[in-house]
Symmetry: C2
Subunit: 472 residues, 2 copies
């Protein structure tokens, strides 16, 4: 902590409140995200209070007002209608609350200038009392390590290494759900909404220093602090990979932004330039963001674009060779020495040892995989190894390996461990999608990035290869 900036020291405690009050949830209320239950399910270990003037919220320690809570309240989650927000902020200030996340919507994004004025009033009240605000029109904080959460069904994976800052509540949570499906956790998800006080700049600078965060994702629709944001992006991107989705890059998307978060979108070209200059990576959607994050977490940066492809299916090998080549990669012929060595293990009709290595039935000769992969890893004209799997060759009872799929996957992962080069797995979605998902999770748990789509894999690899971080 002694190396950290003042800014970090101000923001970090907000993610570690000792006590939280949720204002505006009732037992019967089925509308709303369920902030109380969210914190219980995430294992929040501090004091958790429900604030409801209309009576007891079942299962929660309830008080009619914040003032009546006996001890201190560090953080408040506000889930009341817009017309009641001012009163709650006033109560927070009186209670000396440290921070409030406002789920409440109906301001700038709904009423434009009139909403912005209401936001300004709220900010003025908060600033007088030293209260920091998140939102309004946001989900607030998700942080599994300290038990913060904004929806009851949020993943509970601890020690995730990705964090996201998002102007949209939906886009704050969707990547967390999607990554968890593959067993990948998030350190923090921050939905900041209309950023009346704390916003993209503050959280970017914070995450740049956050030791729990290895990859920063950002979804942004617009900003009112152009220069500060650019500087924060540069600082963050020089510290760790920063992946940015810009919502409202097109005229139609920009029109949607106005009604979504009330922000001005800015031109697409400008955002492209900002990302290039700051060393951030501009990605198109959540899938691409997670693809690049996966590579950043699980793979060293390849030294170049020369790719060795190992496939069990000749046709898929040909097709994927084409697609990688069309996307800027080289699939160079294996050299003589490698081919001579490969002949020990792969030498039957149906196979080919040129690159792609079409293993055909030799794929099921598990015993020699560790040697074979170790040898491929030594090839000096290859920068990256791509292994093509397919459920129709892994999971069939009638094919060799059918009954030993799990053992086979372990052999594969052990063999991949012998490769001293970046290795990615292409595992298309074909048959037995549900079993495939379990296998994908296993391979990811062993530290290998898995992609179902070659074009997406190539795009993510290109991001990583094209990226050169700036000096801070």
């Amino acid at each position: 902590m002694h190396n950290k900036s003042t800014h970090f020291k101000q923001i970090d405690p907000l993610f570690h409140p000792r006590s939280i009050a949720v204002v505006g949830e009732s037992s019967s209320g089925k509308i709303g995200p369920g902030f109380l239950e969210a914190h219980i399910n995430q294992g929040f270990s501090g004091n958790l209070y429900a604030i409801n003037p209309k009576g007891q919220v079942k299962n929660y320690e309830t008080y009619p007002t914040l003032a009546e809570v006996p001890g201190p309240v560090d953080h408040v989650v506000i889930s009341v209608r817009a017309e009641f927000l001012k009163q709650v902020i006033e109560d927070c200030v009186k209670k000396k609350v440290r921070s409030a996340a406002m789920f409440t919507s109906g301001f700038r994004e709904w009423e434009g200038e009139k909403g912005a004025e209401k936001e300004a009033e709220i900010l003025a009240m908060a600033q007088k009392g030293g209260l920091r605000l998140i939102g309004p029109n946001c989900m607030g904080f998700y942080c599994p390590d300290s038990g913060l959460s904004y929806r009851a069904d949020m993943p509970t994976i601890k020690e995730g290494k990705i964090s996201i800052i998002s102007q949209s509540g939906g886009v704050a949570m969707t990547p967390v759900y999607a990554a968890a499906e593959k067993g990948i956790g998030f350190a923090k998800s921050i939905s900041y909404g209309n950023e009346v006080d704390l916003g993209a700049v503050d959280f970017l600078l914070y995450l740049a220093e956050d030791p729990d965060t290895q990859v920063i994702c950002m979804y942004i629709e617009g900003t009112r602090q152009g220069e500060a944001l650019r500087n924060a992006m540069k600082k963050a991107a020089s510290a760790k990979p920063l992946l940015v989705i810009k919502g409202g890059r097109t005229d139609s998307g920009s029109r949607a932004v106005v009604s979504h978060t009330g922000a001005m979108a800015g031109s697409h070209r400008m955002w492209e330039a900002v990302c290039r200059q700051t060393g951030a990576m501009l990605v198109d959607d959540i899938g691409e963001m997670l693809d690049v994050a996966k590579l950043a977490l699980f793979s060293k940066k390849p030294a170049g674009r020369r790719m060795g492809i190992v496939s069990v299916s000749g046709g898929l090998g040909v097709m994927f060779t084409d697609l990688f080549t069309l996307n800027g990669f080289e699939v160079p012929k294996f050299n003589e020495s490698l081919r001579n060595d490969l002949k020990q293990w792969v030498d039957l009709p149906g196979t080919s040892i040129r690159n792609p290595l079409d293993m055909a039935t030799a794929f099921f000769s598990m015993g020699t995989h560790p040697q074979l992969f170790a040898r491929l890893g030594q090839a000096d004209n290859l920068d990256i190894l791509v292994v093509v799997l397919a459920m129709e060759y892994l999971g069939s009872g009638n094919m060799p390996g059918g009954e030993v799929t799990n053992y086979f996957l372990h052999v594969l992962a052990d063999s991949f461990d012998k490769v001293k080069k970046p290795l990615v797995v292409i595992f298309p979605e074909t048959t037995k999608a549900k079993d495939r998902l379990d296998m994908e999770r296993f391979l990811i748990s062993r530290g290998y990035p898995v992609f179902s789509d070659v074009a997406r894999c190539a795009k993510a690899l290109n991001h990583v290869l094209d990226h050169s971080p700036q000096e801070a």
Copy 2:
């Protein structure tokens, strides 16, 4: 049948053999696809024989040689090593077999010119006896309606409408597995391998006339009949959508082709031109092929590119508006009259009725969905409707609709039925992937094309919109 060509009348019976013999499978053999079991599992109702000189094949009527089979044999599947193939072909000719599919590999694709010579000898033998050959180096025929199959675990969906012709055995089967996972069947899958006799031209012309086939897919690495293939493609593409993957479009891919099927790949530009001139659609991979097939089966061609987007998440709505716009679609502002009508159903903070229609919590007001979708379907400045779903809004116990997800999906499908315009669903892979897959299947069973990826959806729609079939 009286309208059909002589060619059709010659080929069609091959897909309806009364009896089949599989040569070269043993009870103990775990290597190989399991052709005998494949036909049983697919419900083949004719006589099925195992031919094995080394003794009884468990559970199958077995004879040492073809000659000893008591009745006629229409079709033979040959799964012997290359050196035994000639003998089996000779036996087929003596037995007056109509067609033989040769799984056997190790010819042109393995030995080059020498292998091609062996193929020529085999062809000469067959032609003398009126035997039609498929392969070698192929999987042969899959046709659920007549019980033909080449792997024990092949899907058994009847009345599928897609057919594929593939030079690669893997690429013949992978799309069938992938489509079945979504509940979509294939009419025929034809793996033709080295096409010593019957090949791409014959099967294209056949499928062009096949009443069970509504969409033709083709994976081709190379051809020795350029002009005939072009004519066949033109004929097929004028009859129904023809989707082509060209394996070996790049130098590296082309090198892979030589060892895969022994074909010459031809230049990428040439294949692009051939597809354009014949009205075929050139696609990049199996996913894209199935995406376009799905649209061809389940959606009328949109009148244009003006898109209405309905989303439950504001952020996803913005992001997808951007992506569709960047991919050539328009997302025009809803007109005044539509917006006035929409206000009846969608009018809360968090919603927006401009386009995208950001429904937010109004998404869960199921009762008014039929009216709302009917009204959207009448919008005269929209050509196509895109509905954005997301598991995190559908499947959560804590969100409205959580416990009634299945009912909700039925309401949605019923509401979609009111839309008299092409409608596609974007349903990203986020949380609960396994449940999502079941929901995707349901929506597809109701006739709605579902995509998990916007970029892929846009690409498929662009194929359909850009496509103008040629006159035959």
